[in-house]
């Protein structure tokens, strides 16, 4: 039996508790980690990496995402350029099925095992569900890749339909901790988001549920998000760093610092030792090349390859070369962590 650590250094506590016993950090402990100084950052990242390697192994899950329906969203998520309520230059556009299949093929060619179809909506209507049914069938007939979806809030009937289509994972982020959520979204509630997440989990689909950091939340609220994600126990947590979008309410915020972003990655890994932790939007701006590498050595074990929904990502060859250099194999299709 592992002895309890009696000291108060949070990294020593985390080493014994998370690495030694597999017990995630609590909200208070995550906050303590987020408050550690830059002088502890390398030790923190090294510990988070050990935790990742112990509970998840060296493989990295690679995913591509595409926007099936862009812009014109009725919701007011303050970080999002696709809301129809802001003066963002993003216009509404739909992707056709041949282009959707082409995007899935592009993604699969990188070795990715996941392809996520995303729509900027409050929730899917009949037209979108029909487009999904056609699109998922066309992808599954042409490309060897797992299909995920992100279509906003769902009804139970829609959850069942997606399962029937063969969608294996559904993304629905909490976006922020409960206490900060009303500062981020006013057109729906935190509990409405939770309800969709719970239905997805109960359906047998894998739940992908993360959030954004760097939106002006306090460290306490960032720790709260980690804890609330931990309670939900999603299969995957995508971690986004705010990329301030012109015309949105958060458009004038400064991107968070690289060190804060890396500390957040490590803290989330210590709060979610057995969860896939994915680099999502904003890493190019917030972390750059060096930070991307540090994050992969600090708890991250999944990446989005190529472009995002409305913005551009790194050339996939750079990411794949980095994974090769770090001796982190791409997770094979149907392999489980």
């Amino acid at each position: 039996m592992t002895a309890q650590v009696t000291g108060t250094d949070i990294l020593d506590v985390a080493r014994e508790q998370v690495l030694g016993r597999g017990v995630p950090l609590t909200e208070e402990q995550v906050l303590e980690v987020l408050r550690t100084g830059d002088d502890r950052l390398q030790d923190l990242l090294a510990l988070a990496h050990e935790v990742r390697m112990t509970y998840q192994g060296p493989a990295v899950e690679v995913e591509g995402i595409v926007s099936l329906k862009t812009g014109g969203c009725p919701e007011d998520c303050h970080f999002c350029s696709q809301s129809g309520q802001f003066t963002s230059p993003v216009r509404s556009v739909w992707l056709n099925i041949p282009e959707l299949v082409r995007a899935a093929k592009q993604t699969a060619a990188t070795g990715a095992s996941e392809f996520c179809i995303v729509a900027a909506v409050r929730g899917p209507d009949a037209r979108l569900m029909e487009q999904m049914r056609e699109g998922v069938a066309a992808i599954r007939a042409a490309v060897d890749i797992q299909v995920a979806a992100s279509l906003g809030m769902l009804t139970q009937e829609q959850v069942d339909e997606l399962v029937d289509m063969g969608v294996h994972r559904y993304n629905h982020n909490l976006e922020a901790g409960r206490s900060y959520f009303p500062q981020v979204v006013t057109t729906h509630s935190f509990d409405e988001r939770l309800e969709t997440c719970r239905m997805v989990k109960e359906s047998g689909m894998e739940l992908c549920c993360g959030g954004l950091v760097g939106m002006g939340e306090t460290l306490e609220q960032r720790a709260e998000l980690a804890a609330q994600l931990g309670e939900l126990e999603p299969h995957e947590v995508p971690l986004n760093f705010l990329n301030p979008r012109p015309g949105t309410p958060f458009g004038d915020l400064e991107p968070m610092s690289t060190n804060d972003a890396l500390r957040t990655i490590a803290a989330f890994r210590l709060a979610l030792p057995r969860t896939i932790l994915r680099y999502a939007g904003g890493r190019e701006l917030t972390l750059g090349d060096l930070g991307t590498r540090d994050g992969l050595l600090g708890g991250i074990n999944a990446v989005i390859v190529g472009n995002y929904l409305t913005t551009l990502g790194r050339d996939p060859r750079e990411d794949l070369a980095l994974l090769d250099e770090l001796e982190m194999p791409i997770k094979a299709l149907n392999e489980t962590f």
Partner: protein
């Protein structure tokens, strides 16, 4: 006349014509400093037609983007070399 880089002022269906409007911010290319637009163009497709300033329909996919101006047509750029 101040130009940002080609990403910010991606010509749409007119080859060599550099256009009069910034593809990123939609302001005149001679109006003010477009240094931030040039930086943004590394991670953003253009949103405004450089010839007429109309907002374009832009579709981003994992390996490319397509921008369409109702007046000046479409351009597609691969982002995977």
């Amino acid at each position: 006349m101040v130009f940002a880089d080609a990403g910010a002022h991606e010509p749409v269906a007119r080859g060599e014509d550099p256009g009069a409007w910034c593809g990123q911010c939609g302001l005149g290319v001679g109006d003010g400093d477009h240094a931030r637009c040039a930086v943004r163009a590394e991670l953003e497709p253009p949103r405004y037609c450089i010839h007429c300033r109309r907002r374009m329909k832009v579709q981003v996919t994992p390996g490319a983007w397509t921008a369409t101006c109702i007046e000046h047509g479409s351009v597609e750029r691969s982002t995977w070399a």
